[in-house]
């Protein structure tokens, strides 16, 4: 029973951070049709920036509670700066080109961003445990959990509801859905598509950064962070259906829970299981489980 609860909570926590990151990836793909490999770097940048400032603030004797503010600030700063520079500097000039070529360009960006992290933050790991220590542990159905980890689930829920609300309840969401459905139609409706693209990319980047920033206190922030997360979120997005928020949520849950089960019950298959599911979905439902509707082009 306790073991099952542990698996469930581990799985949910893992799903939560996967969802936050993947939501950003899938929004960018849905709107711009860009599979962004550099998304892993947003995550890494978010984690480093948050960890760095949490450590600095703590050294300066400022209250640890500020850490939460720093996490959000780090995500926004990283997302806005990197997102803006990359979209305006590189991607904007590629929209007419083959989508596979754009994937390759984001891979080049990924390499560049990974190294700028090394240059900026060095190779030693960062620890930013303060926010986690602040919240302390809690007894839950016979097991002890860190409260911080549990809040991650809440954050993911907030992101999910936020995305849903934005897409379905705001004027902005309607415009976005028009562009997602058919870019040409969006243009002919008078939507400022370039602006939509820029904002979407920044928004997606912020979510990528938030995933990293929020997870930072629970891990040692070290080089290579983005490499693993990007393939995992690819798996999530592929399983759920590229471009679908609901898909990202379901995909995260499937992959998060499966991985948690594997880690506890059969650690040898931990990674295997994730990508085997991805491969199976691609083979039998290449559009993913919850692919968004496509316009008929003929």
């Amino acid at each position: 029973m306790e073991a099952a609860l542990t698996i469930l909570l581990d799985g949910l926590q893992f799903s939560s951070y996967l969802f936050i990151v993947s939501a950003g990836l899938t929004i960018i793909f849905g709107v711009m049709k860009i599979l962004n490999v550099a998304h892993g770097s947003f995550y890494a940048w978010g984690a480093y920036t948050a960890a760095f400032f949490i450590g600095k603030f703590s050294d300066m004797g400022l209250p640890d509670a500020l850490g939460f503010l720093l996490i959000v600030a780090a995500a926004i700063v990283v997302g806005v700066i990197l997102g803006f520079i990359i979209e305006q500097g590189i991607l904007k000039h590629m929209y007419e080109r083959d989508e596979v070529l754009i994937v390759l360009a984001t891979f080049g960006l990924f390499l560049v961003l990974e190294d700028i992290i090394l240059i900026a933050f060095g190779t030693d790991p960062y620890f930013a445990y303060q926010p986690m220590a602040l919240l302390g542990p809690v007894e839950l159905g016979g097991i002890t959990r860190d409260v911080y980890g549990l809040t991650l689930i809440g954050v993911a829920a907030v992101v999910a509801v936020g995305c849903w609300w934005l897409l379905n309840k705001t004027k902005w969401g309607t415009l976005l859905k028009a562009v997602i459905f058919d870019r040409e139609m969006g243009i002919s409706m008078g939507i400022n598509v370039p602006l939509v693209y820029t904002l979407t990319f920044i928004g997606g980047a912020i979510l990528g950064g938030l995933g990293g920033a929020y997870i930072a206190p629970t891990i040692s922030v070290a080089p290579g962070l983005g490499t693993e997360v990007i393939v995992l979120s690819f798996a999530v997005v592929v399983v759920g259906g590229m471009g679908s928020i609901v898909g990202a949520a379901i995909g995260s849950l499937i992959i998060g829970l499966l991985r948690a089960i594997a880690v506890h019950e059969l650690p040898q298959v931990e990674l295997f299981v994730v990508f085997a599911v991805m491969a199976v979905v691609l083979v039998f439902r290449p559009e993913g489980l919850f692919a968004p509707a496509k316009p008929r082009k003929i």
């Binding site: 490999v37 596979v100 390759l104 360009a105 960006l109 240059i119 298959v269 990674l271 295997f272 691609l282």
Partner: protein
């Protein structure tokens, strides 16, 4: 097969490289060994790339080739260079042929992603399996040639060069057959190819299998050149990315291109690493972006321009 300029150039260059290698310092011999090993895989990816297909997971076949060598070595003590090479190519080629039945129905991003998925499945298995060396991998004993254990790396270098030459000549020939010419045509218009009476699925399946054999051979040669294998540098998705990187860097114009591109890549990496150990990826990434933006035909298009079309397309 030998009567075009590309083939003649390849023969001549291979001869000169083999002779030159006897006098070259060790580090240059090494660069060529790594470069030409990798070039074999690039040759295969080039065939796919011409058809408009980019695999973001060919480290799967590269890794299979490398691990075939490692397992033959550690479990069966096989050290013969040709047996090792054959094993790598056959294992990867068979896997590619089987997976090709599925892969030939996929295009664009789905093709790229499905390849990523299968390569990560293999990565996941190897990393977590003690008997496959886990994250540490295996050290590989020195290769022997017909029972003889050479004292220097030169014989292996010559063999790699000659294998590269053979592969390049074969692919060069293939690209001139009807089957091989169906690259750009498939990328442009699959419906027309079908209506002309050719199965696009068969054409892609063959190309995919060729690319798997070559990537497997490349992995095997790389494993022998390095003397070790590990999942991080043989199977992880970043290795697939590296292979695509070199393919774009080389350009699809000619079978010579992968060899030049791979050498440039090795040299670039070595120097970037020596000059700025913390920024070599940055230099690689920036180079990659520059190529994508300003030199879509890769290094080969530059050579063509400079040489005023010395070599036929």
């Amino acid at each position: 097969m030998f009567n075009d300029r590309t083939a003649k150039f390849l023969l001549l260059a291979a001869m000169m490289i083999c002779v030159g290698g006897a006098f070259a310092p060790n580090w240059i011999v090494n660069q060529f060994m790594f470069g030409f090993s990798r070039a074999l895989a690039i040759l295969g990816l080039m065939v796919l790339w011409r058809t408009g297909l980019v695999s973001f997971g060919h480290a799967f076949y590269f890794g299979l080739g490398a691990y075939a060598v490692a397992i033959l070595d550690s479990k069966f003590g096989v050290s013969d260079v040709f047996l090792r090479l054959m094993a790598g190519a056959v294992v990867a080629g068979s896997a590619g042929f089987l997976i090709g039945f599925i892969m030939r129905n996929y295009r664009d991003i789905f093709f790229a992603m499905l390849n990523t998925a299968i390569s990560m499945v293999l990565f996941g298995i190897v990393v977590k399996t003690e008997s496959l060396g886990s994250t540490d991998g295996f050290a590989i004993s020195a290769s022997t040639i017909f029972g003889l254990a050479p004292e220097t790396k030169y014989p292996l270098f010559v063999i790699i060069t000659l294998v590269g030459l053979t592969a390049a000549l074969l692919v060069n020939f293939y690209l001139k057959t009807t089957f091989g010419k169906l690259t750009t045509a498939i990328r442009d218009n699959e419906i027309r190819v079908e209506y002309l009476g050719f199965s696009v699925a068969h054409a892609i399946h063959l190309k995919y299998t060729i690319s798997a054999i070559l990537a497997g051979g490349a992995g095997a040669l790389m494993a022998m050149s390095l003397g070790q294998v590990d999942p991080e540098s043989m199977i992880n998705w970043t290795v697939s990315g590296e292979l695509v990187f070199v393919t774009i860097l080389s350009g699809p114009g000619n079978v010579i291109a992968p060899f030049i591109g791979s050498l440039v890549f090795e040299i670039l990496r070595t120097y970037a690493f020596e000059l700025a150990p913390q920024a070599w990826q940055l230099i690689m990434g920036a180079t990659f972006l520059t190529i994508i933006f300003f030199l879509p035909g890769g290094i080969w298009s530059l050579i063509e321009k400079l040489g005023g079309k010395k070599n036929e397309k």
